[in-house]
């Protein structure tokens, strides 16, 4: 059976060139980068080259890049590190309601540790209003962390504007760019952020390699203490193959990014316009300001999980909102935040395209998806309407 991978926001296949670059560091180039003899020095050199290439993907300086093991670690480091380094100035943090769990739950942890957190609402397209950020700022505010692009609804947030406000007030600005870096141009200078998290497997690099940009001169408390790796800010023997892979993936992405976007976006637009022909389906997230390969919907009277399974049976792999909604059958907090009623949020489905997605894949999808919806609606107990359910139909809203 033909399989079509439409879950590129979950992860991406490793680029074969990236794998080739990594392999020697699993085999003969096994030296510890801290060792002072030849193999160690070679490993150090490889890491520093990867750092330079990773930095240039986001227009940063090499010394502003700290490698981590995941985007989640980078987000934890940003929030905890900045909160603890600045707690003498104030103990208030601002985030949005549509942050990734690695930001959201870290903020909740900090709340338990005596910090105050404001969770900003978003509009129906999932946009944070810069004026809301401004209103939320107090004399105690030390950090603003807003996601660059939502992996669940694809919306790209107005980070430049928010950073300007933060800068005026002398507040540190972080953005979680895990879903955006490698998919759209990400430039720390024009974004104006002090910290930015991103992960290699989002741009055809390996899992287990991510990085945080920390603007020169920003004080941060380490998350992991130990040795002098990463300038003493992130101890632990470096994952040399993964870091080398991230560097290679960043290098290829810098060259291919526009080509990828030009390939993916028209296919995505076709997928969206075709899917919207289905009765009672709603595009979630911003119609234009969204990730180029991202299409997310809620389908009425149907559960996301059921769509997922039937699509998988037809060889189409996709996601149903956040891990939270697909594993725990809970309504996704992101969908609730954009005003989708809880029962409708169950019908969430997310398709994300990649550079390997083809015209034929989309044709096959466009043919299969409506069939699956009709089939599920035939057996859905709610197909005649949401009798007895709270709220009303989503189609009335847009």
């Amino acid at each position: 059976m033909k399989t079509i991978y439409l879950d590129h926001v979950a992860t991406n296949p490793l680029n074969p060139e990236v794998l080739e670059a990594m392999l020697p560091y699993f085999r003969e180039r096994y030296g510890n980068p801290l060792s002072l003899y030849e193999p160690g020095m070679k490993a150090r050199e490889a890491i520093e080259n990867a750092r330079e290439s990773t930095a240039s993907l986001i227009n940063a300086k090499s010394k502003e890049i700290i490698f981590t093991a995941s985007g989640a670690e980078a987000n934890n480091f940003a929030l905890k590190g900045i909160a603890y380094a600045n707690q003498s100035k104030g103990k208030h943090i601002i985030i949005s309601k549509i942050e990734h769990h690695s930001v959201l739950n870290t903020a909740r942890f900090l709340e338990k540790s005596g910090f105050a957190v404001t969770y900003l609402p978003v509009d129906n397209n999932g946009m944070v209003k810069p004026s809301d950020v401004e209103k939320a700022i107090t004399k105690e505010t030390i950090l603003i962390s807003i996601i660059h692009a939502s992996p669940e609804i694809g919306t790209i947030e107005p980070i430049e504007e928010i950073s300007k406000i933060a800068k005026q007030k002398g507040i540190i600005m972080h953005t979680d760019a895990v879903a955006s870096a490698g998919n759209i141009p990400v430039n720390v200078q024009s974004l104006g952020v002090d910290l930015l998290s991103f992960a290699a497997h989002q741009f055809y690099g390996p899992k287990g390699a991510a990085a945080i940009y920390i603007k020169e001169g920003t004080r941060i408390v380490p998350l992991i203490y130990g040795g002098i790796q990463e300038g003493g800010r992130r101890a632990g023997t470096e994952n040399v193959p993964a870091i080398v892979g991230m560097g290679k993936a960043a290098e290829l992405t810098r060259i291919n990014l526009q080509k990828r976007i030009d390939h993916i976006k028209p296919l995505r637009d076709r997928l969206i316009s075709n899917a919207l022909k289905v009765d009672k389906i709603l595009l979630t997230g911003h119609p234009e300001q969204r990730l180029p390969g991202h299409a997310s919907f809620v389908v009425e009277y149907i559960e996301g999980e059921a769509m997922l399974l039937l699509l998988a049976a037809k060889g189409i792999y996709c996601a149903s909102g956040s891990a939270c909604s697909s594993k725990a059958l809970k309504a996704s907090p992101v969908l609730i935040s954009i005003g989708i009623p809880a029962h409708l949020a169950q019908g969430s489905v997310v398709f994300t395209l990649g550079e390997d997605t083809t015209e034929e894949d989309i044709n096959y999808f466009n043919e299969t998806f409506p069939q699956i919806i009709s089939r599920l609606r035939e057996i859905s107990p709610y197909a005649k309407g949401w009798e007895g359910m709270e709220g009303s139909s989503c189609t009335a809203k847009k």
Partner: protein
């Protein structure tokens, strides 16, 4: 731990020179929240970047620096000018005496 408490734990306090006000430095490096041996590695790097006769200031909250930095100066022949105790960190001042390798 306050500076006074740290000093009582030190073997040799004669090298510690506390200043009433900070010295104007030619270069500054901020390693607050970094621990041993980042303070010494940073000095090694930074001292190479300045000219002989110029002053480097190191901002640190690491107590071990009180012993280590004057010791490093003795060992390398650079001049340890003193420590200024700021609200939540120390400022160390070193004058580069000779070109380091």
């Amino acid at each position: 731990m306050s500076a006074a408490e740290v000093i009582t734990n030190l073997q040799d306090v004669s090298r510690l020179k506390f200043l009433d006000k900070p010295i104007d430095a030619d270069a500054t490096t901020d390693i607050i929240y970094m621990m041993c041996p980042m303070h010494l590695l940073t000095i090694e790097d930074k001292i190479k970047e300045i000219n002989t006769g110029e002053i480097l200031s190191i901002l640190t909250d690491y107590d071990g620096a009180l012993e280590d930095i004057p010791g490093w100066c003795d060992k390398t022949g650079n001049e340890f000018m003193g420590i200024y105790e700021d609200t939540d960190h120390y400022k160390f001042f070193i004058r580069k005496v000779k070109e380091s390798k």
